[in-house]
């Protein structure tokens, strides 16, 4: 049986179809999850995709955090369900306090879309096991509020415990503290990522296939749910 990976659609989600496509390319089954549905079906992992969940005029992810679907995802994530938040999904995870810190307006105060060089800093999470440590990959970023911020203690703790998952290389696009592009929770099952691996699974429509590893990693680790 292929892995079943839930992909959440909030009313303003945009990259949900892309995330589902990437899941299928990786050989897993994509299970659509609707924001208003409080019951989590039987899935092996969940992806919170990119977009502007409920418009995100206030703060990205601030309203999505209260969506019915989150009421079941938050406890499941605390119990160890692998959850990947991409861009807006990362923002939702921070707002929901599943991940520390916050994402703020880019230091250049503009939306930025470009192919970004990244360095993998933790290759043992269920979402990054397909990579090797220090691997350099190119994946698109596209965000207006992608600057990762946290207080010094949190940053030191993230660094000290290997919880910085990917870092920007070749130029920080948004002012993220310590070039942080992605982090995980203490258990490692919840990963938040500003770049968009789902846009790098096919060289025809992306800069390459470097993003595929985020979706195939689940196959390599024993998934506990």
């Amino acid at each position: 049986m292929p892995l079943r990976i839930g992909v959440v659609t909030f009313p303003g989600s945009l990259d949900d179809r892309d995330a589902a496509r990437a899941v299928r390319v990786s050989g897993a089954e994509a299970v659509p999850l609707w924001h208003a549905d409080p019951v989590l079906p039987d899935v092996d992992a969940v992806i919170l995709p990119g977009g502007f969940s409920y418009g995100d005029y206030l703060r990205c992810g601030a309203i999505a955090r209260f969506a019915p679907v989150m009421r079941s995802i938050i406890p499941a994530a605390r119990r160890g369900l692998p959850v990947l938040g991409i861009c807006n999904g990362f923002q939702v995870l921070c707002e929901a306090h599943l991940l520390p810190g916050a994402l703020v307006r880019n230091d250049r105060r503009r939306f930025v879309c470009r192919d970004q060089l990244l360095r993998v800093q933790n290759a043992s999470t269920p979402w990054t096991a397909s990579y090797y440590l220090e691997q350099e990959i190119v994946i698109p970023i596209k965000n207006g509020e992608g600057g990762y911020v946290a207080d010094k203690r949190t940053l030191d703790e993230l660094e000290g415990n290997g919880r910085v998952v990917v870092r920007y290389a070749g130029g920080n696009p948004n002012g993220s503290y310590r070039d942080i592009a992605g982090i995980c929770n203490e258990a490692g099952n919840v990963v938040g990522l500003m770049p968009h691996p789902e846009h790098a699974v096919d060289a025809l429509t992306g800069p390459g296939t470097d993003g595929l590893g985020f979706f195939t990693s689940l196959l390599r680790v024993e998934v506990r749910a």
Binding site: P11, L14, G50, G55, R110, R114, K142, L204, G206
Partner: protein, 751 residues
């Protein structure tokens, strides 16, 4: 406060009305009275004044636009032609594509961010209305000189607005243009294009058929947006109402539109509507009159049922409001509950405000009283039509005669090299990624080509890889020198760009941006441009499917450069066979296709000297067709691995772009006997450069020979070289070229 009813209007025939303030002239007002056989009510006056505005009625342009239909080439591809919200083209395999470009110029000057944002929102709703899922946007922009204070205010806001709205809708931005010219100070142009996809059997038309069917207004509440004019009515009519101050700036809510899109697509998929209309300029006035006129012919509307954001709005203001993110649908009674259920799912407000009738009248009530009773066609279709005076401007001859021959031309290698560096850094030719990096080009996962490719290309079908390519182009400088040729040059360039990407051009959309139609000189430009475009489309076999006209782009008596923006859509049977403009294969021979003449009228070389005069490059559409044929066939047969069209800045600019995209060097030699300056910088049309695959030289040159397209082997790609070398003249390092090319916009707008 009493509302002006039909009954009052009948009783007070001599009541003075502010029709002039609303933009109607004496004859037009008399015509309204003639149609109604009484004076109009305030609400009716509101309807006629917006529907008969230049913007909605095309009263000055109509007689010229007719040619697009009359001269349209024979084609089976056109499923819906001009006149609907957008034309629809059959692209094969059961897929249909609809696309259209529209201006939002003046609002973008007043409030750049919101003006541009709502421009995107408006064109997206037009596409959605046809039953299509919007799948990509593009934007064609014009600003004053890069160093003008006005540009520093307008450009960043416009770009952020287009990005802010389009990104939030999840529509990839796959291309556009940015040009700078003095004439756009105070008159920036923001033309937004949207393309949508549907199955051929899913086309929806804007008509209210079937008496007894419900008229549903859904989406955002109606507020006082964009109704500056209506306050005239309020204050002039209601003795004690005082001056009501209404905003004329419309603020966009992209999240509301995103939800509206998904809601509409679900409604279409379940086949829940008879007809659909978006609310744009003229809002409810336009939607009700157009739906009724195109359908059974009548409609009853209870205007007081319209959900309001501002409860103090008067009926006239509601009719004129341009609040964004609203749609109107015609729904049969048996499907109403399902329709409303879909709206509830998406949390979209939906209200039944009326019924379709067969009375031939549009009737509206306000708290039980009749305030509108008119034949809808009289407002929607039978507005005034003007044959405006046309006169070739007095200075036109002078402009053409002073042709810039006297400008000093570079000769030595050093001089040519310096000019190259200066040209690639000039605002019109410089790298536009400062702009395009603010646009999401990846969302939806179907973008095959986007900025800085010649054309944008998207995949429509993940199993067959069928797709479409689109390019938008326009050069106001050429059109100023010769409107007829300028329009064709815009068409030819867009057509060539599409072919260079490997796609087969199929259909055309256009946006005609001009000064005042009341100026006979402007009208001459307009008439010639429209004729040029219609003739050009006929010659190339690509029909105009729709478009938009924007007049009154002028400051005082000085009009903008007449700016014809043309979008060409092409079909690609298999997007995996697309061609990029990037040099990437070592030692691949570079060929120049087409003829180069000494043509600098309207060129960028003239522009950097602050000069505009002479004749634009000559147009040869038969040659364009042959060239496109070569590019498409060579791509399909795998003979070439890159292609790039030649346009502003000529051969030199094209070479630099092809080198810089992959940071790959090249060595070329100009044809013996050629004047190097002309060979490098002339803007002769009908040309492209290609790189030919290993061992395919003979096949490729053979193809060119059979098609009668001249080709010349210029040199070769050199993967290891770090410069572009023009043998015997100069070398320019890629680093130096890149820094010149890519610094201009950031240096100005990065702050």
């Amino acid at each position: 406060m009493r509302v002006d009813t039909v009954e009052t209007a009948e009783q007070t025939p001599e009541h003075p009305q502010p029709y002039k303030e609303l933009g109607l002239n004496d004859a037009e007002y008399a015509r309204v009275r003639n149609i109604l056989l009484r004076r109009p009510t305030n609400s009716e006056l509101a309807i006629y004044s917006v529907m008969w505005s230049e913007h909605c009625s095309y009263k000055s342009s109509k007689i010229h636009l007719k040619q697009f239909g009359e001269k349209a080439p024979e084609t089976d591809a056109l499923l819906v032609g001009i006149g609907e919200n957008a034309g629809v083209v059959d692209v094969g395999n059961g897929w249909a594509v609809t696309f259209k470009i529209e201006s939002h110029n003046h609002p973008s000057y007043v409030e750049p961010y919101q003006g541009a944002a709502t421009g995107v929102g408006g064109i997206v709703r037009d596409i959605l209305t046809m039953g299509a899922r919007p799948v990509a946007v593009m934007d064609s922009l014009r600003f004053g000189p890069i160093n003008a204070a006005d540009t520093a205010r307008v450009l960043p806001g416009v770009v952020a607005g287009i990005g802010g709205y389009g990104n939030c809708l999840g529509l990839p931005n796959i291309g556009g243009e940015v040009y700078f010219d003095e004439s756009y100070v105070g008159n920036p142009l923001v033309n937004a294009l949207c393309v949508g996809v549907m199955r051929t059997d899913g086309i929806k038309l804007a008509k209210a058929d079937g008496p007894g069917n419900h008229v549903v207004l859904f989406g955002a509440r109606t507020g006082g947006d964009g109704i500056g004019g209506a306050s005239v009515l309020a204050s002039a009519t209601f003795e004690s109402a005082g001056e009501t101050k209404r905003p004329s700036v419309q603020v966009g809510d992209p999240f509301a539109e995103k939800v509206l899109i998904e809601c509409c697509l679900e409604i279409f998929a379940a086949d829940l509507v008879v007809g659909m209309q978006d609310l744009g300029a003229a809002g409810i006035s336009c939607a009700t009159t157009e739906l009724a006129a195109a359908g059974t012919g009548g409609m009853d509307v209870a205007l007081d049922r319209v959900p309001l954001r501002d409860p103090t709005l008067t009926p006239e203001e509601i009719l004129m409001s341009e609040s964004q993110e609203r749609m109107m649908a015609v729904v049969t009674p048996d499907k109403l509950e399902d329709f409303l259920a879909v709206c509830r799912k998406w949390e979209v407000l939906a209200t039944v405000i009326g019924t379709v009738t067969d009375t031939g009248r549009l009737r509206m009530t306000w708290r039980g009283e009749l305030i509108v009773d008119l034949p809808p066609g009289s407002a929607a279709d039978d507005g005034p039509v003007y044959r405006r005076p046309i006169e070739r401007p007095l200075d036109q001859d002078a402009v053409v005669q002073v042709d810039g021959r006297g400008l000093p031309r570079p000769r030595s290698g050093d001089e040519l090299r310096n000019l190259l560096l200066r040209l690639v850094a000039s605002p019109n030719l410089a790298d536009k990624s400062w702009v395009t990096d603010q646009y999401d080009r990846y969302v939806m996962g179907n973008t095959v080509l986007a900025q800085p490719a010649d054309a944008g290309m998207i995949r429509l079908d993940e199993t067959t890889y069928r797709g479409v390519a689109i390019s938008v182009d326009g050069n106001g400088r050429y059109t100023r020198l010769d409107p007829y040729a300028g329009a064709q040059l815009a068409l030819a360039e867009a057509y060539r760009n599409v072919a260079a990407s490997g796609a087969r051009p199929l259909a055309v959309t256009n946006c005609l941006n001009f000064g005042s139609p009341e100026d006979p000189g402007v009208m001459w430009q307009f008439a010639d441009a429209a004729r040029g475009l219609a003739d050009g489309c006929r010659a190339l076999g690509t029909p105009v499917t729709g478009g938009n006209v924007s007049f009154y782009n002028q400051t005082g008596s000085t009009a903008i450069l007449p700016t014809v923006v043309v979008g060409v859509l092409g079909v690609m049977d298999d997007v995996r066979q697309h061609i990029t403009h990037t040099f990437h294969t070592d030692r691949a021979p570079i060929y120049l296709l087409g003829d180069t003449r000494d043509e600098f009228g309207g060129s960028e070389w003239h522009a950097i000297h602050g000069f505009l005069g002479g004749r634009p490059p000559s147009v040869d559409l038969a040659r364009e067709k042959l060239l496109a044929g070569v590019l498409i066939d060579a791509g399909r047969r795998g003979l070439i691995d890159s292609a790039h069209d030649l346009a502003e800045g000529g051969l030199a600019q094209a070479l630099v772009e092809s080198c810089l995209h992959g940071m790959v060097g090249a060595r070329i030699a100009l044809p013996p006997g050629a004047n190097p300056f002309v060979a490098l910088f002339s803007e002769s049309t009908g040309r492209a450069i290609v790189t030919v695959r290993r061992g395919a030289d003979a096949d490729f040159t053979g193809l060119c020979a059979t098609r009668g397209v001249p080709c010349w082997r210029l040199g070769a790609v050199d993967l290891l070289a770090s410069d572009l070398e023009v043998e015997g003249l100069f070398r320019a390092s890629l680093r130096e070229l890149r820094s010149a090319w890519s610094s201009t916009l950031p240096a100005r707008f990065e702050r």
